[in-house]
C-alpha cells in the first residue's frame, strides 16, 4: 500500500503502527464500491462488476504490508485489492467506465484493472488463472535479485481449479517469494462452499505441497495483517511461499444486480453484523486512537476524492476509433 495521500490523517491523530492507514484503506475500498454499485445501477458502467464489500479487511490487511515494488495479482473481484495496493483512483475509475484514459485504455474494464506503477499485475476474468502467472512474477523478481514479494489473491471457489494445485506445488518446490492469499468468502458465484468442497479450510491443503497453511479471521484487519506479516517475513527471508486463508463473507451478490435467489436474505443480514470497518472503528475509538469526528472526517474526504474520480471518469473521452487495434502487438 502506498501511503494514503492525505497528510491531514497522519498529522492529526496518533497513527500507531499504521492503524489509521488501515482504516483509511478499508473505508476507501468500501466507499468506492458503494459508489460503483450506484453508478452501475444508473446504467453508467457497461458490462458487469463484482464488488467485495464486507471483505475490505483482507485487501487492506494484506496490501498494507506491501511496498509498490511488490506485485499483486487478483481476480474478477479485484477492486479492493487493487486500490489497497495503491492504484490511482482516476485511471481505475476511467477504466471501469471504459474510457480512453482508463488504466487499460478502456480495453477491458472492471475485470481487468491493472497498474504497472502500483504493482498490480492485473485482475483476471478466468477463475484460478492468476496463480500460474504469479509464479513467474515471483520467479522473475528473485531471478533479478530483488527482495520484493508477489501476492496472488484468489477465492475459495478458485481453490478447486487445477491451477491452484500446480501453482502451490511449483512455488513450494522452487521456494518462491510468493504469498497465496485465499479470500474465502464462503461463496462461488451462486453456490455455497459446501457445494464444491468437502473440507472447511483451504489452508489445510498447504501441507500437501510442503508449505505452511495459515487460517486467519478475514474480517479482522489486524489478524489479516499479522498473518500476512509472517508470510511476508518467510518470503523475504527466502523461506518460500505460504498459503494464507482469510475467512470472510460476501455481503452482496456475485455481480452487481444479482437477485440472489439462492440464499436467504436473513443469512446475509446475519453475516453482515460482522463488519470489518465498523468493528475496527469501534476498536479505534475504544482504544482512544481516534474520535468519531475524526473518522467521519476521513469518510468525508474520501467521498470528495471518489466523487472527483467519478467526475473525471465521466468527463473522460471514449477510446478513439480503432483503439482496440493498438494494443494487440508491440
Amino acid at each position: 500500500m502506498t501511503k494514503p495521500k492525505d497528510p491531514a490523517i497522519s498529522a492529526a491523530i496518533p497513527n500507531d503502527d499504521g492503524l489509521m492507514d488501515l482504516h483509511h484503506s478499508m473505508l476507501r475500498v468500501r466507499l468506492v464500491e458503494e459508489k460503483l454499485l450506484q453508478v452501475f445501477a444508473d446504467g453508467k458502467i457497461p458490462g458487469f462488476i463484482h464488488v467485495s464489500i464486507g471483505q475490505e479487511a483482507v485487501a487492506t490487511g494484506v496490501c498494507s504490508c506491501l511496498t509498490p515494488a511488490d506485485t499483486i495479482f487478483t481476480t474478477h473481484r479485484g477492486h479492493g485489492h487493487t486500490l489497497a495496493k495503491g492504484m490511482e483512483l482516476k485511471p481505475f475509475m476511467a477504466e471501469i467506465f471504459g474510457r480512453a484514459n482508463g488504466a487499460c485504455h478502456g480495453n477491458s474494464g472492471s475485470m481487468h484493472v491493472a497498474s504497472a506503477e502500483a504493482g498490480v499485475g492485473g485482475a483476471n476474468g478466468i477463475v484460478g488463472a492468476g496463480l500460474p502467472i504469479s509464479l513467474g512474477s515471483a520467479f522473475g523478481t528473485a531471478f533479478k535479485g530483488e527482495d520484493s514479494v508477489t501476492v496472488v489473491f484468489f477465492g475459495d471457489g478458485a481453490s478447486n481449479q487445477g491451477t491452484f494445485h500446480e501453482s502451490l506445488n511449483l512455488a513450494a518446490l522452487w521456494n518462491l517469494p510468493l504469498v497465496f492469499v485465499c479470500e474465502n468468502n464462503g461463496w462461488a458465484q451462486f453456490s455455497a462452499q459446501k457445494a464444491y468442497m468437502k473440507i472447511d479450510s483451504i489452508a489445510r491443503r498447504a501441507d500437501g505441497y510442503g508449505m505452511p497453511g495459515v487460517l486467519v479471521d478475514g474480517d479482522d484487519v489486524l489478524k489479516v495483517r499479522d498473518g500476512m506479516r509472517q508470510a511476508l517475513a518467510r518470503a523475504r527471508a527466502g523461506d518460500g511461499p505460504t498459503l494464507l486463508e482469510c475467512k470472510t463473507y460476501r455481503w452482496f451478490g456475485h455481480y452487481a444486480g444479482d437477485p440472489q435467489k439462492y440464499r436467504p436474505a436473513a443469512n446475509v443480514e446475519q453475516a453482515r453484523t460482522v463488519d470489518c470497518i465498523a468493528n475496527f472503528e469501534k476498536f479505534l475509538i475504544e482504544q482512544g486512537l481516534a474520535g468519531r469526528q475524526q473518522l467521519d472526517d476521513v469518510d468525508a474526504r474520501l467521498r470528495v476524492e471518489i466523487d472527483e474520480a467519478i467526475a473525471y471518469a465521466e468527463a473522460s473521452p471514449a477510446a478513439p476509433k480503432g483503439q482496440y487495434l493498438n494494443d494487440v502487438y508491440a
Binding site: G47, G106, N160, Q161, Q189, Y196, A318, A319, Y324
Partner: protein, 323 residues
C-alpha cells in the same frame, strides 16, 4: 408454436429430453438450484432431483472429463460451461479425450455427450468473456459443432445433440438468450448437419450463423430496397457442414458473402470460401468476401465498433454486386 425466448427454448429442450430419457444428466457450475448463470437449467433440479442435476466445483477439466466417463458408461451428460471462453481451460479433455475416444479405442467406447457453452459478444463482457472460438472445434475430427441462431433451432438442435451418439458442442450466443421467436411445443428436432435457408434470393448468397443471421437478415432488407435480392443461409451446424446447401445456393446466385462474428482471419469463413472456390470457381461472378471481426481481442468499451454488423454485410454485398 409459441413465442419463446432462446434461453427458455434451451430450458424446454432439457426438460423434454430429461423426461424422455432417464440417462440424461445435467452437469455444471451452478446448474442446480440457481438454474445456471443464464437460466438455461432453471427448474431442472426441482423437476428431476439432485441425482440428475449436478452442481460442480469450478473445475472445468474435471467436469468435462467426468461427462466423458459417464458417457462411456451409457449416460447422456449435458455439461454447461459457463462461457465459451472457458473451453480453453478444459481443452485437453475436449480435444484429446472426448473427440478421440471412439477413434482411439476402435469403437469400443462412445462419447455421446453434449457441451453447451455461450459464446459471442454483445454484453460488454470484455476480452475473456466474449470470444467466438468455433473454428477451433470444427478443425477437430470426432466433434460435432452447432450454433443455433433462433429459439426454435436452440431447442431443436439441442434435442438432436442429446440424442446423437457422438459428442456435440452446442455454442449458444449469450446476446441471443433474451431474443424471442416461435418455438414448436413438444417434440421438435432440428437435424445436425443441415443448414437452413432463412431467406431465398437470387442475386447473392450470404452464408452465416448464430447472431450474424440477424444482421444478415437486416442487411438483406436494406439491400432489397436497393433491388438486391439476397439469399441467407443459416448454417446452424459447422461440423458437419452442409456443403450441399452452400453449393446449391451459390450455383443459383454466383455470388457469395460469408458473415460471422469471430475474428475473420482463420475463422470458419475461410473454410467455406476455400471449399466453394475449390469446387465452383467458374460459377462465381465475383470474389467471395468475408465479414468478420478485426484481428484483436474483443474490447470492453469499443465492443460495438469492433463487432461486424449489418452495415458491414451490406457493404460486402454491394461490393460483390458491383464487381
Amino acid at each position: 408454436m409459441t413465442e419463446t425466448r432462446y434461453i427458455k427454448a434451451i430450458n424446454e429442450a432439457l426438460h423434454e429430453e430429461m423426461t424422455r430419457d432417464e440417462n440424461v444428466v445435467i452437469i455444471g457450475e451452478d446448474v442446480g438450484a440457481p438454474g445456471g448463470a443464464f437460466g438455461g437449467t432453471r427448474g431442472l433440479l426441482q423437476a428431476f432431483g439432485d441425482k440428475r442435476v449436478k452442481d460442480t466445483p469450478i473445475s472445468e477439466s474435471a467436469i468435462v472429463g467426468l461427462a466423458l466417463g459417464a458417457a462411456m458408461k451409457g449416460l447422456r451428460p449435458v455439461v454447461e460451461v459457463m462461457f465459451a471462453d472457458f473451453l480453453p481451460v478444459c481443452m485437453d479433455q475436449i480435444v484429446n479425450q472426448i473427440a478421440k475416444t471412439r477413434f482411439m479405442f476402435g469403437g469400443q467406447f462412445a462419447a455421446p455427450l453434449v457441451i453447451r457453452a455461450p459464446g459471442g459478444a454483445g454484453l460488454n463482457a470484455g476480452p475473456q468473456h466474449s470470444q467466438s472460438l468455433e473454428a477451433w472445434f470444427a478443425h477437430i475430427p470426432g466433434l460435432k459443432v452447432v450454433m443455433p441462431a433462433t429459439p426454435a433451432d436452440a431447442k431443436g438442435l439441442l434435442k438432436s445433440a442429446i440424442r446423437d451418439n457422438d459428442p456435440v458442442l452446442v455454442l449458444e450466443h449469450k446476446a441471443l438468450y433474451a431474443s424471442s421467436g416461435d418455438v414448436p411445443a413438444g417434440e421438435y428436432l432440428v437435424p445436425i448437419g443441415k443448414a437452413d435457408v432463412r431467406r431465398t434470393g437470387k442475386h447473392v448468397t450470404i452464408v452465416t450463423l448464430s447472431r450474424m443471421v440477424l444482421d444478415s437478415l437486416e442487411a438483406a432488407e436494406t439491400l432489397a430496397a436497393q433491388g438486391i435480392d439476397v439469399e441467407v443461409i443459416d448454417l446452424r451446424s459447422i461440423s458437419p457442414l452442409d456443403r450441399q446447401a452452400i453449393f446449391s445456393s451459390v450455383e443459383k446466385t454466383s455470388r457469395l458473402v460469408i458473415a460471422h462474428e469471430a475474428v475473420k482471419s482463420f475463422g470458419i469463413g475461410a473454410e467455406i470460401s476455400a471449399m466453394v472456390s475449390e469446387e465452383m470457381i467458374d460459377v462465381l461472378d465475383a470474389p467471395i468476401l468475408r465479414v468478420g471481426a478485426p484481428f484483436s481481442p474483443v474490447p470492453f468499451s469499443q465492443e460495438r465498433e469492433y463487432l461486424p454488423n449489418a452495415a458491414d454485410i451490406v457493404r460486402a454485398v454491394e461490393k460483390v454486386m458491383n464487381y
